[in-house]
Symmetry: C2
Subunit: 171 residues, 2 copies
């Protein structure tokens, strides 16, 4: 369901695009919020076309098909945004490791936390790059999600640092 919405949203905002374009857009923008590879995107676009939420606007070179969102497609995203209450997925390997941390002794736990922190700092750097590359003009799809991602990553780092301190203090 959510993949449909993500695709319709991208098409609504950026205009007609091919499956290939959308796959690229996923990689550089929506990726930190929702991941999908081309093997998911192509079939989903076909379904979307079958349901009348997008149309094949043009077929170009190398078999390229350009999809455009229909008014029904726009309505679908709009409806989903207003009506759908997101289900908390609560399925994160990071959080699972956090949960199981007490199974380790203190030095091991600190090592795990430091590894997590390194990964998060890299992620944070990546998000900052996105922010700089995509100056936060309001109205741009993704600006708010980017801020959210940055804040969440920062708060994760704070948690990790606090927990490391606590573990060192215990030992």
């Amino acid at each position: 369901m959510s993949l449909r919405i993500a695709l319709l949203g991208l098409l609504s905002s950026s205009g007609p695009a091919s499956g290939y374009d959308l796959t690229k857009k996923f990689e550089v923008s929506i990726n930190h919020v929702w991941q999908a590879g081309h093997s998911q995107i192509y079939p989903e676009l076909a379904k979307l076309a079958a349901d009348g939420l997008v149309t094949v606007e043009a077929e170009g070179a190398r078999g390229r098909k350009t999809y455009a969102v229909t008014p029904e497609g726009r309505a679908e995203v709009h409806r989903w945004m207003l009506e759908h209450v997101p289900a908390e997925p609560a399925r994160s390997e990071n959080a699972l490791q956090a949960f199981l941390l007490p199974l380790l002794d203190a030095p091991e736990a600190v090592a795990v936390l430091e590894r997590m922190s390194a990964v998060s700092r890299a992620r944070l750097g990546h998000l900052y790059e996105l922010k700089v590359a995509n100056p936060p003009a309001s109205g741009r799809l993704g600006v708010h999600a980017l801020e959210l991602g940055i804040m969440q990553t920062e708060s994760f780092l704070t948690w990790a640092a606090t927990t490391i301190d606590a573990l060192r203090h215990d030992a």
Copy 2:
């Protein structure tokens, strides 16, 4: 993979338990970190037993089977904790709605953010209850994950409030 680890972790920490017990434990403790229903747990326990990571320690009334973790099982969790680098799932309906927020007009976006906030406040309340119910004795499985969940939810609320302000200011 992660479900195996979650089950082995719970069995390592709390001692032998049945599939039913583990299902209940999932609901009240690990749920905010990793969800699974009994229809996943029972087959996974059977596989775990087949792989020698747990054993059926006893069969009690009403077909109850009590599983205990084996040394191999403990080693498996330990190895996973130290070696496995969590893949960021980055698949959150909440974040997707945040991403698509610019498709809405300002009052609609504010309404969506306020709904999100209400859900998050409820979640935060639930986490606080867990914290009070389970006093944070260090060494208890889940204490760190609980703190993490609280911090992340609080930072989500901060983001939502900031974004609402920004949208109101624009309009």
